[in-house]
């Protein structure tokens, strides 16, 4: 998405502030996915394709309802189906709509080397600007949720935009609009948290003691949240990470390594310069040449 924005709070590979005159004065946004209400109809996948004009390759059955089996550059959201056998023998069909979580502290943005290829708007949406993407794939390494996908066609990275184009004109994301069960809702993050709290209370009254909200604080919270029946075991939902964080390796690589590396280069060059100025060059003198000749002569005339 590359509309001119005046509400950018974070921009990849950039130190100075971006245009941010416009704020999100009515609060940041969030999409709440209540997986306990999901019937796996995939209407959200279709709505995403329609609104974003994406037509992924029609795949093959891989032995489950997952189709495509995983996110791709043309499938920005995918329903993930997992069968969970409960200790009491009950089978639960846990269905999770996978896609970008729109982290408050986005690992993709942190890893991106291209200024402005990834931005975060004041409303919390994390968006890729494919025009400036270089195709290096660092965002893939940076994401704690394994979401960005690099296109084979153009080598650009793609993911859910949270329909930033719709949201910017006051509409809800396409998946929210289409969801027939009201499983996906959209609004201010605060409202969504409140709505989730009500749902969790209801779930608990029905025996789901571990029901809870998935809004992982390791990435500063997310602008896509889940209501889970088993919030204590998010990994049941097709490996939703329990405590996602920007990897320490990425933190090191994109944190301290950057200034230290550049400093090391400057220091090495400066050491050379100072050595030359302070001690000076090592020259071969006439004396050395004479010594060399003397040694050669000496050998010739034993």
């Amino acid at each position: 998405m590359a509309l001119q924005s005046l509400d950018i709070i974070r921009r990849s590979a950039t130190t100075l502030p971006s245009p941010e005159a416009r704020g999100a004065h009515s609060g940041q946004v969030a999409k709440l996915i209540d997986v306990t209400k999901c019937i796996g109809c995939k209407a959200c996948q279709v709505a995403c394709m329609e609104w974003n004009d994406l037509r992924d390759e029609v795949g093959t059955c891989v032995g489950s309802y997952n189709n495509p089996p995983d996110l791709t550059e043309e499938s920005w959201t995918v329903m993930k189906f997992s069968e969970y056998e409960h200790a009491d023998g009950n089978l639960e069909w846990l269905i999770r709509k996978d896609g970008c979580m729109h982290c408050a502290d986005p690992g993709c943005l942190k890893a991106c080397p291209s200024p402005g290829a990834i931005v975060q708007y004041a409303n919390g949406i994390v968006d890729f600007h494919e025009k400036t993407a270089s195709g290096c794939g660092y965002c893939v390494a940076g994401c704690p949720f394994n979401v960005p996908r690099i296109s084979k066609k153009d080598n650009k990275a793609y993911k859910c935009t949270l329909c930033s184009d719709r949201v910017s004109v006051g509409l809800e994301p396409a998946c929210v609009k289409t969801c027939p069960t009201g499983c996906i809702t959209f609004g201010s993050k605060e409202d969504m948290q409140q709505h989730a709290a009500e749902r969790i209370e209801d779930l608990k009254s029905r025996g789901f003691d571990n029901a809870g909200l998935y809004d992982p604080q390791g990435v500063g919270g997310t602008h896509v949240m889940y209501v889970l029946h088993h919030a204590d075991k998010p990994e049941l939902y097709s490996d939703l990470p329990k405590d996602p964080k920007i990897s320490a390796t990425v933190g090191l690589w994109k944190g301290i390594a950057k200034p230290l590396g550049v400093l090391a280069i400057i220091a090495t060059a400066a050491a050379g310069f100072l050595h030359y100025i302070g001690i000076g060059p090592n020259e071969t003198t006439e004396h050395d040449e004479e010594e060399a000749q003397r040694e050669l002569e000496k050998e010739k005339t034993p």
């Binding site: 195709g135 390494a141 550049v262 000076g280 050395d288 040449e289 040694e295 034993p302």
Partner: protein
């Protein structure tokens, strides 16, 4: 000026034409790969991508230039391997690094074609290039990255950056040494050094290569 060590008019051949050309292929590709690598590493240096035609072109070219550098250096490395094995007098030379830095060469032991600093640089370059090659293949998004798990790519990216910085710093030392020790650059441009240069800096090598001319 064909064979190593042949002496004419006070000059000794240090490098033949093939090695000199190869050295400058490595040097040129190093400059390009370092500039493009820094461009992708530090946002403050992203403007360097302009030298290569923008972000995507930098991303496309960087790994190929890197392969040229590794391949060309492999030939140099194979040729110079034997002359870079550490000898007892090299450790003694290292021990007196203060005298080296302060140009008090008369206090240093007599050494062969390469001094201990050059030898250690040689090994550092080899290690860095191996690290860069291996990690570079892992993070090469267009062809190989899809075959590796993300945690492995993260480690490879960090290792790639680390080896890159060690190599860049090492090459700065290498370039500075050539500026510092006068008469060295000629060895890589014209192929020869003066008898006095060889006698002063690499006396054992000087004796070895001039033995043929002695009776």
């Amino acid at each position: 000026m064909s064979s190593d060590g042949e002496s004419r008019q006070g000059q000794i051949v240090r490098y033949g034409p093939a090695l000199r050309i190869n050295h400058w292929i490595v040097a040129g590709s190093f400059i390009l790969v370092a500039l493009s690598g820094l461009a992708l590493f530090h946002p403050a240096l992203f403007w360097l991508t302009n030298l290569f035609g923008g972000g995507p072109w930098t991303r496309i070219l960087h790994p190929f230039i890197g392969l040229v550098m590794v391949a060309a250096f492999a030939l140099i490395g194979a040729k110079l391997w034997c002359e870079n094995i550490m000898r007892p007098y090299d450790w003694e030379w290292l021990h007196k690094i203060r005298d080296v830095v302060e140009n008090r060469e008369d206090r240093l032991p007599e050494i062969g074609k390469y001094n201990a600093g050059q030898k250690l640089l040689f090994y550092t370059i080899i290690l860095c290039l191996l690290g860069l090659l291996a990690s570079g293949l892992v993070i090469w998004r267009a062809y190989f990255a899809i075959y590796f798990p993300i945690w492995f790519i993260r480690i490879a990216a960090l290792l790639h950056a680390f080896c890159g910085f060690v190599l860049i710093c090492s090459i700065i030392v290498h370039i500075y040494a050539a500026i510092w020790v006068k008469g060295s650059v000629r060895a890589m441009t014209r192929g020869t050094v003066s008898d006095g240069w060889a006698w002063k800096h690499h006396r054992l090598w000087f004796r070895e290569v001039t033995r043929g001319q002695r009776k």
